[in-house]
């Protein structure tokens, strides 16, 4: 008989806690995998597909599912390091042996050679190319992420990737100081 009471007591306790847990699981459900958002925030959002995924978000999802963190050439070593920190894995050199410091580029359309085929417009992941059928196209360089995706579809190869020009705002100081020396 004692055994019976004990079973009832434990059983009812288990039921209550089970209900509480079940409720909490529904009530405080986390919508998406937050790690994906965190990874996505680190990725440079060039949407270039060089990682083998169709955009930064899919790669972020892949990383969250355990893919390598060193597949983002536009992000360079800095991104790899950050991703490695976040995922708790070891930072590896970039896959494919790209330079650690990627050179930022923007697409440039040689406008007199453009035949107005709109293929690059369809390829651009961030709608940074303007133009219309049989009209010359051009790149909004502020919006261009330098992803290269427009270069390949061009039937007349009139798109170049140019390095971003340095301006006074992006210029960095050289490490040389002016010292003052007491003379007497």
């Amino acid at each position: 008989m004692t055994l019976f009471y004990a079973l009832i007591a434990l059983g009812s306790l288990a039921l209550i806690f089970g209900l509480i847990l079940g409720y909490a699981a529904v009530k405080y459900r986390v919508e998406s995998n937050p790690i994906v958002d965190q990874v996505d925030a680190i990725l440079p959002q060039t949407q270039c597909g060089q990682c083998g995924y169709p955009g930064c978000r899919p790669y972020a999802e892949a990383i969250a599912n355990g893919d390598e963190v060193n597949k983002c050439p536009p992000g360079g070593e800095a991104t790899v390091k950050k991703l490695a920190d976040l995922m708790g894995v070891e930072a590896k050199p970039l896959a494919g042996g790209e330079e650690a410091e990627p050179v930022k580029t923007v697409a440039y359309i040689r406008e007199d050679e453009c035949i107005g085929c709109t293929k690059c417009i369809q390829a651009c992941p961030v709608d940074a190319i303007v133009g219309a059928t049989r009209q010359m196209h051009t790149v909004i360089d502020d919006e261009c992420t330098g992803c290269d995706l427009c270069v390949e579809p061009c039937p007349v190869d009139c798109i170049d990737m140019l390095p971003v020009e340095q301006t006074k705002q992006t210029w960095k100081w050289q490490l040389d100081a002016i010292a003052v020396k007491q003379i007497d």
Partner: protein, 863 residues
């Protein structure tokens, strides 16, 4: 305990932490009055000399300008105009080295002074108390005044501060070694400076104005005290000499004991700081109407023969200043813009003085030595003691070296004023400030990148959404189209057509191509109603030709296998074209040239223009082909496509209609063949594409006509083909005659064709299946009739009326017959009687219209 106000009133001063006492070296340049320089030979005026945006250019190259004339117009927020520093001519507007440590080129106006130094009309204000706040601010804005202490913050923004200002602080401290520009300005122009202070008083209504001057400038202190005796709200304060007490935050601390919050601005604590140079410029702008075109610059250093302050026109080159004061450069001479603590070495002396240039320092190698090699940090913490912002320079240094930007921000890197005190005291000669500057630049860049990435992501997602939506819409449209199909028979036929063709031809081609095919089918269907777009086509062909030549060049240099494919492609195409041409020519030769207009246009149509277009397309495809490693067989469909693309849509439509009509007749009649066979056989064997079939039909038609001509029988039997012939003819009379003859011929030809049925039937059937819409046929017929009528009318004027009129009556009935027959034929498409009726009605309407048109034409045509 006195209140803060009372303490300030009484002249209490506070201390800021840290600070250093570098050798002052001010006596070098403060012994002589401010000198006037001769006009420079050249003025280089950068458009942007302050913090904020460029103005918009108001002048052009070659313009004559007067001194003080505005050359740019402020456009965005925080933008200031620049003014002509002297009269002269604008030589150029181009990029020139900027007054920046990088000397990166910047858009500048280059002026050749004419030597007259003639002012434009100035509008001084007599009584500033009459001006509203806004008017005063506008004067400061349009005078282009920016903070002259160093940062170059637009003064009009400060003057328009919406926060209540308790204390206006006038910065005459000038704590940096060597520089005496403000000192001399205060000595010589104290009155104007005080006028400037009073203008700011009117604008900002501060309780007190505190003028801070270091105690190493007794003459300036005396001059200022004298000048502001009449104004009890202005208090001149002498502060102890210590670097960097001239820093905005440090001066506020010294004079009011208040501390500007981290990443805040002085206005947050009710304080506003203005440099004496700026106040002088304010006074000049308001009281004399003069914009900011010159400033006091200290030219000093041991390599200068006559170190002194000078009035330098903004835009004069540093070289001009140095030369005027006598400059004897030493080996490895450095020229520094600004002071030794915060200035930067200039990469070249051919850069201009700008609004923030206060000193040009040309030291010899003994007074300012190049820094030695950086040694290891010994953790002496001298830098932390010297830091006026109570930061931890040593920690910052570690983080900057390891690029730990998060930590840097955590340690308030952005509160660093880059005064250089830490570097100055460092026994290990570590260029600390340089590290911070690099780190700051990198953090800023990262933040910009982040913003950009954010925007890229937004755009990417917006695009994705848009594409999805478009796809959805497309699907919906298809669904709708399917449900509506019985009513608009034409549309259904078109879509089915296009789909069929797409499947046949391209199999795995993308949706885009399907869309193109559909678009083309549509064009082909109603093309006969469209205006001639040969002009556009020609232009496009030209462009493609260009593209092609570029591509070919590229390919030949690369020497890829794509080359051979390309060539093969082109050759195959050329052969096809040659065949068509030959056939046409043969036909032409075998007949008397009664209708040269007809034979010629068609043969002409597919030469150079088409060739160019075809070639360009073929080339583009060759690229693809090479990539996919396709063999010759796979090039075939491409060719087919390219030629199908080349067809003039109008022609295709008409030809298709004709072919259809003929096929019917062929089926009806039972007669024998002639020379049409070979070509048709050829074309049919080549073509699996309905459009090509149409072309073939057109060729057949041309031949049939010719054959008929030889026979010269006059069976009045109109064919829609006349539409084309007459449309192509410029000679109306000939057209009329031709129409009549051709009708006869067509019939005969049709009979001849019939013999061929085994060969011709398939393609014709195909084309007829494409085109058996009665309504379409009706339209085509109507047009044909209209043209025939027009031609006939014109012929009538030439007194051959009776014959042609008779003929005309016939064609109409004939047309109807065809229409009905067609409708019957398309029973396979399950046309309801109602639809047939509709078609008939349409045909009637079209006819009526055509008649009207013809009449109008007649009226319009003087011949």
């Amino acid at each position: 305990m006195d209140s803060l106000v009372e303490q300030i009133e009484r002249g209490t001063l506070w201390q800021f932490p840290g600070g250093v006492h570098p050798p002052e070296q001010k006596s070098l340049s403060n012994q002589l009055p401010i000198a006037r320089l001769p006009l420079p030979d050249k003025i280089v005026l950068p458009l942007k000399q302050h913090i904020g945006a460029n103005g918009q250019l108001l002048v052009n190259k070659g313009d004559k300008i007067l001194k003080g004339q505005p050359l740019t117009k402020p456009s965005a927020n925080w933008s200031l105009p620049v003014h002509a520093p002297t009269s002269g001519k604008i030589l150029d507007i181009t990029s020139a080295p900027s007054s920046h440590p990088s000397a990166l080129p910047e858009l500048s106006i280059i002026i050749a002074p004419d030597g007259n130094d003639m002012w434009c009309d100035l509008t001084p204000v007599d009584d500033i108390t009459q001006l509203t706040h806004k008017q005063l601010v506008d004067i400061l804005h349009s005078a282009g005044i920016a903070g002259m202490g160093g940062a170059g913050f637009p003064t009009y923004i400060k003057a328009d501060s919406h926060q209540p200002i308790e204390y206006l602080i006038v910065n005459g401290v000038e704590c940096e070694p060597y520089i005496t520009a403000d000192d001399l300005l205060m000595q010589e122009h104290a009155t104007e400076i005080v006028q400037g202070i009073e203008i700011m008083q009117q604008l900002l209504k501060p309780q007190r104005v505190l003028v801070g001057i270091e105690d190493n400038k007794p003459q300036a202190i005396a001059a200022m005290a004298r000048a502001c005796e009449h104004n009890s709200a202005i208090l001149v304060r002498t502060i102890p000499t210590k670097y960097p007490s001239g820093g905005e935050k440090q001066l506020i601390r010294v004079l009011t004991s208040k501390e500007v919050p981290s990443s805040g601005i002085p206005a947050d604590i009710g304080v506003l700081v203005q440099n004496v140079g700026t106040l002088f410029a304010v006074s000049e702008a308001v009281n004399k109407g003069k914009p900011l075109i010159e400033r006091v610059v200290t030219v000093t250093g041991n390599t200068i023969d006559k170190p002194q302050n000078v009035w330098a026109l903004i835009g004069s080159e540093i070289k001009h200043l140095l030369d005027s004061q006598g400059f004897t450069p030493v080996a490895e001479q450095r020229v520094i813009m600004g002071g030794p603590m915060m200035g930067f070495t200039l990469p070249t002396v051919r850069i201009p003085v700008i609004k923030t240039t206060n000193c040009i320092l040309a030291p010899d190698n003994r007074e300012l030595v190049e820094p030695g090699d950086e040694k290891a940090c010994i953790r002496c913490s001298a830098c932390a003691d010297a830091c006026p912002q109570t930061l931890l320079p040593q920690q910052l240094q570690w983080f900057a070296k390891s690029k730990d930007f998060e930590k840097l921000e955590e340690y308030n890197l952005f509160d660093c004023i880059e005064c250089g005190a830490c570097s100055y005291v460092c026994p290990s000669e570590i260029p600390l400030v340089q590290y911070y500057r690099v780190a700051k630049a990198e953090i800023r860049e990262q933040k910009l990148d982040q913003i950009k990435a954010e925007r890229a992501k937004e755009r990417f997602e917006a695009r994705k959404d848009r594409l999805e939506q478009e796809q959805q819409e497309r699907q919906n449209r298809h669904k709708r189209g399917a449900s509506r199909v019985t009513k608009p028979e034409k549309e259904k036929a078109k879509v089915a057509d296009a789909l069929e063709r797409v499947k046949q031809k391209q199999g795995d081609k993308s949706a885009v191509q399907a869309a193109i095919a559909r678009a083309k089918a549509k064009k082909a269907a109603d093309g006969s109603l469209e205006p001639d777009n040969s002009e556009v086509a020609k232009e496009r062909a030209k462009r493609k030709e260009q593209a092609r030549s570029y591509k070919e060049q590229k390919q030949s240099t690369e020497g890829t296998p794509a080359n051979t494919d390309d060539k093969k492609d082109a050759v195959a195409q050329a052969i096809a074209r040659a065949k068509a041409k030959k056939a046409a020519k043969l036909a032409e030769e075998s007949t008397p040239n009664i209708e040269p207009e007809q034979a010629q246009p068609s043969s002409e149509n597919d030469d150079p223009r088409k060739a160019a277009v075809a070639a360009a397309i073929a080339r583009a495809k060759a690229k693809k082909a090479a990539k996919a490693e396709e063999n010759t067989s796979s090039i075939e469909p491409e060719q087919a496509q390219s030629s199908s693309e080349n067809d003039d849509p109008r022609k295709a439509a008409v030809a298709a209609a004709i072919a259809r009509a003929k096929a019917k007749k062929a089926a009806k009649a039972e007669e024998n063949t002639s020379s049409i066979e070979p070509e048709q056989a050829q074309s049919s064997s080549e073509n699996d594409d309905p459009r090509k079939a149409a072309v073939a039909a057109a060729i057949a038609r041309a031949k049939a006509k010719k054959a008929a001509k030889l026979a010269e029988e006059s069976t009045p039997n109109i064919e829609p083909e006349q539409a084309q012939s007459s449309s192509e003819n410029d000679d109306p009379r000939k057209a009329a005659v031709a129409a009549a003859i051709a009708r006869a011929k067509a019939k005969k030809a049709a009979k001849q064709v019939e013999e061929n049925t085994s060969n011709v039937e398939p393609e014709q059937a195909q084309s007829s299946s494409e085109n058996d819409d009665p309504r379409k046929a009706a339209v085509a017929a109507a047009i044909a009739r209209a043209k025939a009528k027009k031609a006939a009318k014109q012929a009538e004027q030439n007194a051959q009326a009776t014959n042609t009129n008779d003929d005309l009556a016939q064609p109409m009935s004939e047309l109807k017959q065809i229409d009905n027959a067609l409708a019957e034929q398309s029973d396979s498409e399950q046309l309801t009687p109602e639809q047939k009726r509709q078609a008939a009605i349409k045909a009637a309407v079209a006819k009526a219209k055509a008649k009207k048109q013809a009449k109008e034409q007649e009226g319009n045509d003087p011949s």
